[in-house]
Symmetry: C2
Subunit: 219 residues, 2 copies
């Protein structure tokens, strides 16, 4: 019998999908939170729902309103970084101010309300190291904050991919049979992956390093 | 010329209204965030807007969805505490899981996006000491988390009422000409204050201790 409950932040990309399957393997009975925040690549929301269905878990899809956001992910007038290493030059234009802070806040509230023990997040420091709210030091500090700010002090933030590269993430996911063909990574908001944005670049490079074809491209 | 920008979490009650006027006096050019979270006492939203107008500041009203919330503030089937010291017996039924964590997350995102230096919150440890997300140790830890999770590490969480009693808060506010007649405290969701819930009790007691009539009751 599954007894450990968990909440997973599910975006529809490779990282959160892999995190979901890792948490499932650890015996967690999961509920997913999927966020619609007026991202241009809304296709990831359908991908997240599809992955939740494949994994046989329930989800809540929440629309959140951050009208002040000035990010290439939410404003088509701001160019997407295409130089394939945007994070190395500081915080990229795809940064959405406070996004993981907001997502995690909802997730811990949800977790507390359903008596879940853990909140899973697919954050990792490689590839997108430019995002401050993906860093271990942020996650540790946020953990400390919720320990003091919630009724249930024991809820854990779990980021199993934190120090893995995209290649290692996909290798782990393939073993766990993550349905990568249903994941969506491209930031451009088009029907097909643009192949040029950071997110497409890191995805393609990881599959190439593993010597396998991206199942998304085979659909 | 006002140059310091700030964000204020405005609920329509005495505490946040007083905090607003304190921040104004400190020279902050403020923007308010008002949240609609399906609270039964929606009248506080109109109160918050009125106070923002009186203070001459702009506001954003955000609807947020926390469908899992099991609180007497959002579910009329859960009784409001009427024993006038609910917080002394543990966390009261009016607790909304993660509410200040969510509110502050939006506020710091907003602050970062408009180059504001501070986020003001009317939290205090007296009267409602049952809420874990009003405690100084939570606010300190949240401050540490956003220092690591935001692009602008210097945004400050400011809670000027933290250790003041309701009586001291109102005394300060009267000096600053806070329009208390437009504030709203009652949790019951009725047209007139119920006079029985915790929030009515602490408000009435503070005005009584100051030997003055609550201007809300004179309207």
């Amino acid at each position: 019998m599954k007894t450990k409950k968990g909440v997973i932040l599910l975006s529809g990309g490779i990282d959160s999908a892999t995190t979901l399957y890792i948490a499932k393997q650890q015996g967690y009975h999961l509920r997913a939170l999927i966020f619609e925040y007026k991202q241009l690549h809304r296709k990831e929301i359908a991908a997240a729902k599809k992955i939740a269905c494949c994994a046989g878990i329930d989800y809540q899809c929440l629309s959140i309103n951050i009208p002040w956001s000035r990010s290439a992910l939410t404003d088509s007038r701001i160019p997407l970084p295409l130089d394939q290493a945007a994070g190395l030059h500081g915080i990229p234009s795809t940064y959405v101010s406070g996004r993981n802070i907001i997502f995690l806040s909802y997730a811990v509230s949800f977790a507390e309300s359903i008596n879940a023990k853990a909140v899973f997040i697919g954050a990792h420091i490689h590839d997108y190291s430019g995002y401050p709210d993906c860093r271990p030091e942020f996650l540790d500090a946020f953990q400390a904050a919720i320990r003091r700010g919630l009724k249930v002090a024991s809820i854990k933030i779990v980021a199993p991919l934190l120090r893995k590269s995209k290649k290692e993430i996909i290798r782990t996911g393939l073993r766990l049979k993550v349905p990568y063909k249903f994941t969506w990574s491209c930031y451009s908001g088009r029907r097909r992956p643009c192949g040029r944005c950071d997110s497409c670049y890191f995805r393609a490079r990881a599959f190439s390093e593993l010597g396998i074809k991206d199942p998304l491209c085979e659909k």
